[in-house]
């Protein structure tokens, strides 16, 4: 089985561009990725593309072939939908196809247009990742769902809003110099605590923004990289995926995310590493509490210990395991379908020494990306390693 290398990456600025179409965003990101890879467009054998709310935001389904057009490639093109984990799943399927010899070069990415829907419209569009009969009809939405988990966590393990605020502060700090980030400004713990409530105990600064953007990368086999002389120092060495019941109320746990644990265990076994070997991670912090649940489910912290990690400096850039050096979804932004690929791109640039925050992890060789859909009813985990 061949290894899988990241040959080129592309990333639009993440932010509010309500006038830009999804197709324009993906054209930019995919063009940059293909150009950086140095691969001829005719050599790309497939497009795996993640998108969640295209029907609602742009009246546009069937985005696979559309985005192949925008990328200028003639190859089988498929859209993957798995809520906020859409492009994480696309990456996983691309990795499997390269490994099993189906293709030597695959374009994988995602895009989302969201801000043209407005806050209420985007909140509704996101909410359809929940159970329509038993959650949406009760008035639940995603801020509400994560707030339900946050309150349950506080009741079971302790911790408070101030602990969560330190996560938001950390991730904004990390995004300051990230040119792709939606928010390149620092915030304070007081800012977070005094922000208007969205779904108590979560406030506005506990939540990621609504974002437009796209990301893309070209994955190639080891053999292809060597044959073509492609400079691709970072490999995807582990992939895993997990699912859980769609409705939060139907889960075994309200304060744990077993789908992430399952995905991580599969990815760790696949890469032949353990969580203690991960030196830097990008995790799905759509809300501050989501980062807590992620770092615990991935095995970086015991259950009940993740809440204090940012406050204690363990997940800051100087800490034991820096989390979300890109700024995370919280500050970099969360264009849903683009997020999974974006996390892997940020991580590959961090490991390759090409990221503005690479100096925080100068010797890191192993990184992990965690991408979650819905209230973590879908999760992908990928392990990245610098080739020896």
């Amino acid at each position: 089985m061949t290894g899988v290398r990241i040959a080129g990456t592309g990333h639009t600025h993440f932010g509010q561009f309500p006038e830009r179409t999804g197709r324009d965003l993906f054209a930019e990101a995919s063009g940059e990725a293909i150009e950086q890879s140095g691969i001829d467009r005719d050599s790309i054998e497939a497009l795996f593309y993640g998108n969640f709310m295209g029907e609602l935001a742009e009246d546009q389904g069937h985005q696979g072939p559309l985005m192949a057009e925008m990328a200028g490639i003639r190859a089988p093109a498929t859209r993957f939908e798995s809520a906020c984990a859409s492009s994480g799943v696309a990456v996983r399927e691309a990795v499997k196809d390269v490994r099993n010899g189906e293709a030597d070069a695959i374009l994988v990415g995602g895009a989302e247009r969201m801000t043209n829907l407005g806050t209420a419209g985007a909140t509704k569009a996101l909410s359809i990742a929940a159970d329509e009969l038993f959650e949406i009809r009760a008035g639940m939405n995603f801020p509400g769902a994560y707030a339900l988990m946050a309150q349950a966590y506080f009741d079971e393990y302790g911790g408070d809003r101030e602990d969560l605020a330190h996560i938001a502060v950390k991730n904004h700090e990390n995004a300051l110099e990230n040119e792709h980030a939606q928010y390149q400004r620092a915030i304070t713990v007081e800012d977070v605590l005094e922000a208007p409530p969205v779904a108590e105990p979560l406030g506005l600064y506990d939540a990621c923004p609504i974002t437009d953007g796209a990301s893309a990368m070209v994955l190639v086999s080891d053999e292809y990289a060597e044959r073509e002389g492609i400079d691709a120092p970072v490999s995807i060495t582990g992939t895993g995926q997990g699912s859980d019941r769609i409705a939060l109320a139907d889960r075994e746990y309200l304060v744990r995310t077993p789908a992430a644990t399952a995905a991580a265990e599969e990815a760790y076994a696949d890469a032949g590493i353990g969580p203690e070997e991960v030196e830097v991670a990008e995790v799905h912090d759509c809300f501050t509490i989501a980062e807590v649940l992620a770092v615990e489910s991935l095995g970086f912290f015991e259950h009940g210990e993740g809440i204090g990690a940012a406050r204690a400096g363990e997940t800051t850039r100087e800490g034991r395991i820096p989390i979300n050096l890109s700024g995370g979804l919280k500050a970099k932004g969360h264009p849903v379908g683009a997020t999974g690929t974006s996390q892997i791109i940020e991580l590959s640039r961090l490991l390759a020494g090409e990221h503005v925050n690479s100096d925080a992890v100068p010797d890191a060789r192993i990184g992990l990306a965690h991408n979650a859909g819905g209230t973590v009813a879908s999760t992908t985990v990928h392990v990245l390693e610098v080739a020896p």
Partner: protein
């Protein structure tokens, strides 16, 4: 909201409204909510309706301020998850000033704040 009939769910919400709420149970003791053709935990197709207990325990709750367009005029309102033993339910919590995990509540069907739409509502038992 939806004007279409939702087979299985509509009958279930009507039963809750009559005070005859139920959940589905498989031979292995797994609880779930309709519509189902088999148990989501073990795949057993032999599902029986079991009455919901008279009251449940509040597991978690949130006061939602930023709502979807359908609920924006109702906000703020409190959504809760309540454990009835055989299954958990998600609904809105009314009649409680300061909720606390562990309190006992009943379930019923009431109207939305702003629209004549059935809504699962928990109130103190």
């Amino acid at each position: 909201m939806s004007e279409q009939r939702d087979e299985g769910y509509d009958e279930w919400i009507a039963a809750i409204d009559r005070g005859e709420g139920y959940a589905l149970e498989c031979p292995n003791g797994h609880g779930s909510l309709p519509p189902r053709r088999l148990c989501p935990e073990c795949g057993d197709p032999d599902l029986e309706e079991q009455p919901l207990p008279d009251s449940g325990t509040l597991d978690t709750y949130t006061r939602i301020h930023v709502a979807t367009p359908e609920f924006v005029d109702d906000a703020p309102y409190t959504v809760a998850i309540v454990d009835f033993g055989i299954t958990r339910l998600t609904g809105q919590l009314r009649g409680v000033e300061e909720p606390e995990a562990g309190i006992r509540v009943d379930v019923g069907v009431e109207e939305r704040e702003t629209e004549d739409e059935p809504l699962l509502v928990f109130r103190p038992a």
